[in-house]
């Protein structure tokens, strides 16, 4: 594999309400920040992750390009998923070898609609969506299957978030990720752009796997797809100092920690994780950014990032980051 590294990461100071900024206005500062951090103004490839249903406007991701200045035309793509999966596409694009940089960003304003019911729209239209099964309800089904000390997970996440200036200032621990508006961006570099840079977090493994969609076809106590992605990404090849996990419900951490084979020595979600700020469609990308930041600032030699999509942790992406390629 061609070595690829995170060279820059920025996120908004997330809010629990609509701050009055449009989506391009929300993205603009994080794009500017990663351009400054990376010293790059143009990128060989650009990929974003967002969900048009959050804004209720078709092709809302196209207008978000206004934040980039996409003229003359750029090589650009989009996933209707968390931007962590856009980062995967960018990583694949960099494997082609003809471009050496990629800009990845994600954004979401959950405050505009009813997120719990918007998430019903991702369910299959034959068996699940007609029931009105909402996000809290299908998460509740998985929670009832999983054994764990969920209040302790909520408390630890809340305590960790106290030192995260980008997280929400929640009055008390929560087991359900809060409604959040925000955005994030990452710059990936490869090839010649790796030289003469000292502050990089190499992506030494990245993979995603998917489970059957229908919750009744799965063992909800475990995540076979997260375990398979972790194996493919090489999580078990060395000690994991830090893991940033896409935990939107406290019980998901229990499932993921087992699937990824994390030991008690791994610090999970030192940023507070999604239980402290959940800008939907940027949350997974932020996990990669937070894990990269721990590698870049030297607090972790080896870090794992995880992002999820679909009901009850259906689809899981795992990346392993470290100082050296």
């Amino acid at each position: 594999m061609r070595p690829v590294a995170v060279a820059a990461f920025a996120q908004t100071t997330h809010t629990d309400h609509d701050s009055g900024l449009s989506e391009p206005e929300l993205i603009l500062p994080v794009i500017r920040a990663v351009r400054e951090q990376s010293g790059l103004t143009e990128f060989g490839f650009t990929c974003s992750g967002s969900c048009d249903y959050l804004a209720g406007a078709p092709f809302s991701f196209v207008s978000a390009l206004d934040a980039l200045g996409a003229w003359p035309p750029i090589q650009e793509s989009h996933v209707e998923m968390d931007a962590a999966f856009a980062l995967y596409e960018a990583w694949v694009r960099l494997q082609h070898g003809d471009v050496d940089s990629a800009l990845v960003y994600g954004f979401g304003k959950s405050s505009m609609g009813d997120l719990r019911e918007i998430m019903t729209l991702q369910l299959d239209p034959y068996y699940l969506a007609p029931l009105g099964l909402d996000q809290l309800s299908y998460a509740g089904l998985q929670r009832s299957a999983v054994q764990g000390d969920f209040p302790a997970i909520a408390r630890r996440s809340w305590e960790s978030a106290q030192t995260n200036p980008y997280a929400l200032k929640l009055p008390e621990p929560v087991e359900t990720a809060p409604i959040t508006d925000g955005a994030a961006a990452i710059v990936l570099v490869a090839g010649d752009l790796l030289h003469d840079r000292t502050n990089l977090a190499y992506i030494n493994g990245i993979a995603h796997r998917i489970d059957p969609h229908y919750p009744g076809m799965r063992d909800l106590t475990r995540s076979a797809s997260a375990a398979a992605a972790a194996t493919a990404a090489g999580v078990g090849k060395g000690p994991v100092d830090v893991a940033e996990l896409h935990v939107q419900f406290a019980h998901e951490e229990t499932v993921l920690a087992e699937a990824l084979g994390l030991s008690g020595d791994t610090l999970i979600n030192p940023s507070g994780g999604p239980l402290a700020a959940n800008p939907v469609m940027a949350t997974g990308l932020i996990r990669i950014g937070e894990a990269a930041s721990r590698v870049m600032d030297g607090t972790a030699a080896r870090a794992v990032a995880h992002a999820a999509s679909g009901p009850c942790l259906q689809h899981n992406l795992v990346a392993v980051l470290s100082r050296e390629s």
Binding site: G20, L131, G132, S144, Y214
Partner: protein
Amino acid sequence: MPSEPNPEINHVLEFPGGYTRSTGPVIGRFLTELRAGRIVGVRTAARKVLVPPLEYDPATGEPVVADDFVEVGPAGTVREWTWVEEPRKNHPLDRPFAWALIRLDGADTSLVHAIDAPAKAMRTGLRVWPRWRHDRIGSITDIECFVPEVTTIVANVRTEYTVTPGAALKRYLDALTRNVFLAGRCSTCAAVYVPYRLSCPQCGSVIEDEVEVGPAGTVTTFAINNLPDPRAPQVPFVSAYILLDGADTPIIALLGSVAAGEVTEGMRVRAVFEGGTVKWFAPEREA
């Protein structure tokens, strides 16, 4: 950040009439059977029964066996479940209910559906049956919800009677209208019985002596009642055995004008009459 308030507008995203989606042969068969009031699964090459059916085996990705549909349920067993205290407008029920993964009899996978049952009835292992809609269209919502198996029934009893108090009790009740407790004294046993009666319950002799007892007496024992009663002064209230002065047997009556916690055995009480009968007894100092 803008400092002036942003104008807000309500925006509705709706596709009039909805999307038309083809079902394919497998999901279409399932929905057609639902419309007919049956639930079917489909067999995989490994002989597993998928409910609801898919066109492929989620374990292997292999196509399921063509036309190998098998009727399942209609009953099933609850596995995971979660309670919804405040239903959303798109939920199948408008009152608190449970979502559940239901393993229908004969199926190897679980169906997601709603259960209409009291919260205290919900448990893993609960047996449930579908409640069908009368007008079915070929939708997963042709099953309105699932409901618990019938394990109990309620048998109602209500009959009406015409009763009379009997000769002795009628004399006693007549005396009460004059604020008098009428008792009977057995000359053989020398015992005074209240209410008045025609014969002695010990020796069987005919009682000929009528005597008046009370209206004051002594509490011999009592009970504190926590269920409301229309005749009682308050909740909790006290019912007591009271040995009327001059009687050898106690009568049962309510106590009033006293808090339940202040009633003691041996307490002196006096009858409070109202409307031609005894309303209750009250502590003698206040009566």
